[in-house]
């Protein structure tokens, strides 16, 4: 009986040590930056976008996903926490799991105003269309000129539109270097369409007919139609720019 007790004590101690080692090792490996929560398709942590712009871009991204099952997300962050943007970008993409699981069809437009850095992070599955060279061209031509003038709204809007066009979606108006007023005409019907689509979806949602193209298996948690990543991964595709 005494022996049994001793054996049991030793076993418990071993379990304790194992758990401790596991916890320490786990923390050592997971030296990751802190990421903002994925609150929607446009995560504006840095606060550089106005509400209408945010909604407009969210609408495009939503329509695009419905048309193609692919996820594109726009993120602005307050800080890269000392990481190079290439390093931060792919970790963020994996953390959020943007894109369809297994096919990795996601992309992120990441803007870090503090570090004056921008990156288009491309998932494995989209690297064929949104190549490094194309991403670089979008950054140089559509995004950086506006950013250099401090106009984040225009740079992000034009950049997102160009990314979606490169991915074969023509729903976003080509607003390259156009005067701010010039794009309004084209946007009215688009806003109207988005409104109709959103309205229709909300109606369906009430009746339990909401059909979400990605993230199957999250049904219960996502019944309110909140956006979440599909579990895609990233391997460093895309391009970066600085201004």
């Amino acid at each position: 009986m005494v022996r049994f007790h001793r054996v049991r004590a030793v076993l418990w101690a071993m379990l304790g040590v194992a758990l401790f080692v596991y916890a320490v090792a786990d923390r050592a490996i997971a030296a990751e930056p802190q990421f903002p929560p994925l609150s929607g398709r446009v995560v504006d942590e840095a606060g550089v976008l106005s509400a209408p712009t945010r909604e407009k871009i969210t609408g495009w991204l939503e329509q695009y996903e419905q048309a193609s099952q692919r996820q594109v997300v726009v993120a602005t962050v307050k800080s890269l926490q000392g990481y190079p943007i290439e390093d931060f970008g792919y970790r963020l993409g994996r953390f959020w799991g943007i894109g369809e699981k297994g096919r990795n069809t996601g992309a992120i437009l990441l803007v870090a105003p503090t570090e004056r850095a921008v990156r288009i992070e491309v998932g494995y599955g989209l690297e064929g269309e949104l190549t490094d060279a194309v991403s670089r061209a979008i950054i140089e031509r559509e995004i950086l000129p506006a950013f250099r003038q401090g106009n984040f709204e225009q740079g992000i809007t034009a950049g997102t539109g160009a990314v979606l066009r490169a991915l074969g979606w023509n729903g976003a108006p080509a607003a390259t270097n156009a005067a701010p007023g010039g794009t309004v005409d084209g946007l009215v019907p688009l806003g109207f369409i988005i409104f109709i689509v959103l309205f229709a979806m909300l109606r369906h949602g009430r009746h339990g007919l909401w059909i979400v193209p990605m993230g199957h298996g999250f049904g219960g948690r996502r019944s309110g139609g909140r956006f979440s990543g599909g579990g895609g991964s990233f391997g460093g595709g895309g391009a970066s720019g600085h201004w």
Binding site: A25, I29, E86, T131, D132, G235, G236, G237, G238, A239
Partner: protein, 200 residues
């Protein structure tokens, strides 16, 4: 008859209990982690191969504008040849000498490419050439992919080696997987490998 069946079912129950218990305590960990390191390694090779494939085009484009940089160009071509000529032995991951050789060859190519890109800074015509810009962004992207593939590989090997060297994985491996060996991982820092970014 009924009693025999009962005794039999008890054995089955016991056996399934043992099986579940064993898999829960990680009897399959070693082969599972092994497969993960292999997958991560093939991604590393894949990305290095991608860079190797970019080099001839890049060299040709640069040579069109900067013939006088023959020395730098030759260094890149030679480093590439050395990296591609090396026959990778099947046991490279558990063969320290071969792994070191592989790493050194790839690092030499990284260095030669970095020097080539620095040299191109002096040629405005080249820097505005669309083909060169495209190749340059592909090279940058590939270097980035290599860095990530290496990091992922290091992570999987860390898990695998830890399993092999710690109890109970060590005991399980000694009994069930006597062939399993600790694997090699990258030692030269990524910084040493990084191609300097070219600003416009």
């Amino acid at each position: 008859m009924i009693r025999a069946l009962f005794r039999h079912s008890r054995h089955i129950f016991l056996l399934s209990f043992v099986a579940v218990g064993l898999s829960a305590c990680g009897v399959n960990n070693v082969p599972q982690y092994d497969e993960k390191t292999k997958a991560a390694w093939s991604e590393v090779l894949n990305q290095y191969q991608r860079r190797t494939d970019l080099v001839p085009n890049l060299v040709e484009t640069v040579a069109g504008y900067a013939r006088q940089e023959q020395q730098t160009l030759t260094a890149v071509v030679e480093a590439r040849a050395k990296a591609t000529q090396m026959q990778l032995p099947p046991d490279i991951l558990t063969n320290p000498a071969a792994f070191k050789q592989f790493q050194e060859n790839q690092t030499a190519l990284s260095g030669a490419l970095a020097r080539l890109l620095v040299v191109t800074e002096q040629y405005p015509d080249l820097k505005s050439n669309q083909n060169f810009l495209s190749l340059q962004s592909q090279l940058e992207g590939t270097e980035n992919r290599i860095a990530i593939a290496r990091r992922d590989y290091i992570g999987t090997v860390q898990t695998y080696n830890t399993e092999l060297r710690t109890i109970p994985g060590r005991w399980i491996a000694a009994v069930l997987y006597p062939d399993a060996k600790v694997k090699e991982t990258f030692t030269i820092s990524e910084q040493a490998q990084e191609v300097p970014k070219v600003k416009f």
